[in-house]
């Protein structure tokens, strides 16, 4: 059973106020490892040459608006960029001291988490983690609260603020509609000349990544970013330098984001079931021998504690 489903059950049960907070710890111990056949992409930043072909391919595949600058204009690297409503993937350049090249590039896009924070934070369930491993988005029900953007640990979702009447979250969907569900790799993987992007089953890619590191230890820093981070991501990164040098957040921990929220969610059924009894009881005690309605106001001493919880 997936944790999301578990939480749904937990909350639904809580709403009915039929059982207490004990369920909060019962089955939430493990971590959802992702669908067994989930696909992923291994990004080998040692191969990336910063040609921006992936950006161009994504732009065409997803029918994004015309870019501000041509895709062969490398001046965009002068400023770090992030994904937004016009670009679902961007490549950034990083000055790396210990690398022989001095400069490295890293493509970023939605990492397609095993347990996506965007999905778990969405109150209309606009996100779906598909069997193929993609995290897709349903714009028809999105209310536009942008909690997913708050929740995403990688700062990936963008919002089409410029649209007045149909603003939507814009994020990489692994080319799900046009490619992934037909068993094809996403457009960026297809076009990458260097094969810096390797498409495959996530479980195989993890082996591949470790194998590359093992075979050529001089070439790689020994860490597969995304193997464990925030519960594991569909997109994985290996690099010749430590992840933080390529602006990958190394403080995220290995627990999915939803784990942080668990403690609160665990209290919900408790409050729902205990509070009514507790406060009704207090009411009976506090108003014993007294008229229910407003009595003489002077019988209470002015300095009495007002007894808020």
């Amino acid at each position: 059973m997936k944790r999301r489903d578990f939480l749904k059950v937990c909350l639904a049960g809580g709403a009915a106020a039929t059982f207490g907070g004990a369920c909060g710890t019962a089955r939430a111990g493990g971590s959802f490892e992702g669908y067994p056949d989930g696909m992923g992409v291994l990004v080998d930043t040692t191969r990336c040459i910063g040609c921006r072909s992936c950006e161009a391919a994504c732009n065409k595949e997803q029918k994004m608006p015309e870019p501000k600058k041509p895709f062969d204009d490398m001046s965009v690297f002068n400023q770090p960029r992030r994904t937004d409503e016009t670009a679902l993937t961007v490549v950034n350049r990083y000055e790396v001291k210990e690398s022989s090249r001095g400069q490295m590039y890293r493509k970023q896009q939605c990492n397609h988490c095993n347990e996506p924070a965007c999905l778990t934070s969405c109150f209309v369930n606009a996100y779906t983690k598909t069997r193929e491993g993609a995290v897709i988005y349903n714009g028809d029900i999105c209310v536009g609260c942008r909690n997913c953007m708050i929740a995403c640990p990688f700062n990936i979702p963008g919002y089409s603020y410029s649209s007045a009447f149909n603003p939507l979250v814009k994020k990489c969907i692994f080319c799900y509609d046009t490619r992934l569900k037909y068993g094809k790799p996403p457009a960026c993987v297809d076009i990458c000349p260097q094969e810096a992007l390797t498409f495959g089953h996530r479980k195989d890619l993890i082996k591949t990544a470790h194998e590359r590191i093992r075979e050529t230890p001089d070439r790689y820093y020994d860490h597969v970013y995304g193997e464990k981070e925030v519960g594991g991501t569909g997109w994985l990164y290996i690099s010749s330098v430590s992840p933080d040098q390529l602006a990958m957040d190394t403080s995220l921990g290995n627990e999915p984001i939803i784990s942080n929220v668990k403690e609160f969610l665990g209290t919900v059924p408790m409050v729902l079931s205990i509070w009514p009894a507790l406060f009704s009881g207090i009411h009976l005690l506090a108003t014993r021998n007294k008229d229910h309605h407003d009595n003489d106001t002077s019988t209470h001493t002015p300095g009495q504690e007002d007894g808020t919880p």
Binding site: P70, K184, E195, G200, D204
Partner: protein
Amino acid sequence: MKSDRSLQALIPLLLLLAVLLPAAGWGISVPDSIILNKNGALYDQISFDHARHIRVTKECSDCHHHTTGTLVEDPNCIRCHRNSGPSQTVSCRGCHTPDPFSAKSLRDKDHAPKTYHLDKPGLKGAMHQSCVGCHTKSKKGPTTCTGCHPRSAAGDAFYNTGEYAPKPKAGKSGH
């Protein structure tokens, strides 16, 4: 599923070796030039000057691994290929598939778990890694896209460059 056909339509840089060696082995028949990127949509095809590269590189194995010429020195390779003779297949395409990520390729990988070279780049990746890697390392030869292959009109449109470059919009500016 016609993944091959759609790959050809969608992978603009599908590289093909036009001329292949009829027989393997050093000294038998070495092409002087090879037409590359014959079916490419975004970049024009180019004639690869094989003869010149033979002159400027020390060993065939710099590009051809253990398949021809001198033995490789890479410790990873010599674990198995210390005594491998020249192989029947020398061309890039002989080993590196043009569609490494098609459903069929992935399925083949799944069904051959004992194959050692599972993490083998596709044809396009292998050639680019080889060319760009060597050009960068030796600081000789082109390392940009158009340094090797001129971009086609379709490519200009794809990359929003050249005559398809975005026009600066008058007036309205973003935040």
